[in-house]
């Protein structure tokens, strides 16, 4: 027997039957008046008890909806059984809810960790849900913007039209005013019957790389074009017999060989740079005798300076573990820069010393210096502080880019201090494990 009838039978068996039995017993032994009295009393007691339980349950049910918690009613007998089952069910439900909540929580956490902005819209383009990246990309934040129509917040001209005729094959390019310099692409994906998922992607860096690549190509072409124009101009002269005498011919030939030499240096530098980029680490490393290397740098510096500058070389540090050829190229670049940007009579100090556990190679000059706003971009390829100047002194615009690459491969850090008119100091700090313990 199941269902309400089973419970009713239980009630009869446990409550009504004992009272009836007791009343009958009393009626037989003390007379019918006693029997009726006991039955009435028992009945009253029964009603009272059930009402009390009922009230406790009602109070608890009320408290579930309000904020203050009420104790779950405790009882024995029939009520106890019912309440026990109710309590178990309640606990089950709470546990299931908690499970769902944790799962939802970890899901939301994962969605917030996604770098792309995600917004779910309903049929009327009202915002249903969004993740954290959407806040950064589109300025949409929950719960503030729950139910707001997305076109009200993303007002960029063209966005509403794109959203209306969602075409997921070509994205919409968005420059949100909230983050002026950033560029996003937006795609709309249909979700379910009427909902839409808006996906925003930050493409600022990709665009920057793209523009850097195109400027690089433009720069290389420009750098090669200038000497080529000179050479081809002279060649035209040579074709014109009699226009040039022997003396001029000689002079032109010298200028042409200068220009071709420049092109060669440029191509060499480009090759060096691409080789440095292609390999992660130097092919071979050894303990480089710095005193020897500095002496070599000094000799090269003196021949480049031709006695116009005073060169001072100080070597106080230990040997350096690295690729000698690359280090020579990096240090040589720094020294030749110092000589080229220091007017005659200036002073250049080349120093290798150990300080704070680092090996520091520094080149300090009393030259023209670099203004602070150029310093962060100085190691970019073809970056020129003064467009005319460096070509005049024979630079390719790649020197510092090469230096930076080589130093990176040696885990060294390049720092530049400079003051316009007072000179510059280029400092490369090598980590301690690259220094050999014995001098």
């Amino acid at each position: 027997m199941t269902g309400p009838w089973a419970w009713f039978a239980k009630f009869l068996l446990r409550s009504v039957l004992p009272i009836g039995g007791l009343a009958l017993l009393a009626g037989f032994s003390h007379g019918p008046a006693w029997g009726w009295a006991i039955a009435a009393l028992g009945w009253l007691l029964l009603v009272f008890m059930h009402r009390r339980q009922w009230a406790a349950l009602a109070a608890w049910l009320d408290s579930v909806e309000s904020t203050e918690r009420c104790q779950f009613p405790q009882a024995g007998g029939v009520w106890g059984e019912v309440l026990g089952k109710l309590a178990q069910r309640q606990n089950d439900q709470a546990r299931r809810l908690e499970e769902v909540e944790t799962r939802l929580g970890s899901f939301t956490g994962a969605m917030d960790a996604v770098p792309d902005g995600l917004v779910i819209l309903d049929a009327g383009h009202r915002i249903q849900w969004s993740n954290r990246a959407a806040g950064a990309h589109l300025g949409i934040r929950l719960p503030r913007d729950d139910g707001v129509i997305i076109e009200h917040l993303v007002r960029t001209p063209g966005f509403a039209e794109y959203l209306a005729n969602a075409d997921s094959s070509s994205p919409f390019v968005l420059q949100v005013p909230a983050a002026r310099t950033r560029v996003y692409t937006i795609r709309v994906v249909p979700l379910g019957d009427a909902n839409k998922l808006v996906v925003s992607l930050d493409v600022t860096d990709a665009r920057r790389v793209e523009s850097m690549r195109s400027t690089f190509v433009a720069n290389v072409s420009h750098e090669l074009r200038t000497p080529l124009t000179v050479v081809s101009g002279f060649l035209e002269y040579f074709n014109d017999e009699g226009a040039v005498d022997a003396e001029q011919r000689k002079q032109f030939a010298r200028l042409m060989s200068d220009q071709t030499a420049r092109m060669l240096t440029l191509v060499d530098d480009l090759l060096t740079l691409s080789r440095l980029e292609a390999e992660d680490a130097p092919a071979s490393e050894e303990d480089v005798d710095m005193a020897d290397l500095l002496a070599q740098l000094r000799a090269e510096g003196q021949s480049l300076s031709d006695g116009r500058h005073r060169l001072e070389v100080i070597c106080q540090g230990p040997a350096l573990h690295g690729n000698r050829k690359e280090l020579h190229s990096a240090f040589g670049n720094l020294v030749s820069n110092a000589i080229r940007y220091t007017p005659a009579g200036g002073e250049i100090r080349i120093e290798w010393a150990a300080s704070d556990g680092c090996g520091v190679f520094s080149v300090c000059d009393s030259g023209v210096g670099v203004a602070a706003e150029h310093l962060p971009r100085l190691t970019e390829r073809f970056y020129r502080v003064d467009r005319g100047r460096s070509r005049g002194t024979g630079g390719t615009g790649l020197g510092l880019a090469i230096v930076k690459h080589i130093l990176l491969r040696h885990q060294a850090n390049l720092s530049i201090e400079s003051e316009v008119g007072a000179g510059s100091t280029f400092r490369a700090a090598f980590p301690d494990w690259r220094l050999s313990p014995g001098k």
Binding site: I149, H152, L153, P157, P177
Partner: protein, 232 residues
Amino acid sequence: MSDHLSKQFDLELEHIRTRILQMGGLVESQVQSAIEAFSSGNLELMQQVVERDHDVDANEVGIDEDCTLLIARRQPTARDLRLVMAVSRIVTDLERVGDKAAKIASMSRKLHAAGSQRIPRLSDIQHCGRLATDMLQSALDSLARMDVDTAREVIGADKAIDAAFNAILRQLITYMMEDPRTISEALDIIWIAKAIERIGDHASNIAENVIYVVSGDDVRHTGAARMKADDA
């Protein structure tokens, strides 16, 4: 927004709000482009801003018509009426902002055509322009979210633009005193700065209208909103 028995009425109100905010988006991008064109000297962009001003004007006429139709058909009351009234005021403000953007663009073109650059393109103009676009953006955001707090902040921010405008003025006066040949150029730049400053004023008008819609308080010319914004 409150629900009406007639779903259609809700949709119509929502539609008006969407239209005004779309127009706001157009005006926002006009102002940004105009200021960018001034500082970069991009002639194409200037031309584009001047041409797109017609779109802004067309928007104004269309939204005004929508408001009139809605009042005639639905006889809105209380908050709905306030919304329609506010939209018809905001539309005027936005149209003026659009005009200012076009003016900045055409002035920049004139400066560019004159060729002389005795006065460097002041970075203060860009700073002032950024303040103005931020204000406009916040004002429109407050309209989208019906957010009174943001609206109060916008009204408070107007002071910063006024201060920036005065700083530009002082700088230009120094240039003019040093070299009278800079006067015509400086005057043009003053027009641009003044236009930017006016954009800030219109933005705070929009914010005042948002407060009016939400709370029913007319805070125009009272300084009440400003005081509350200062307290906050």
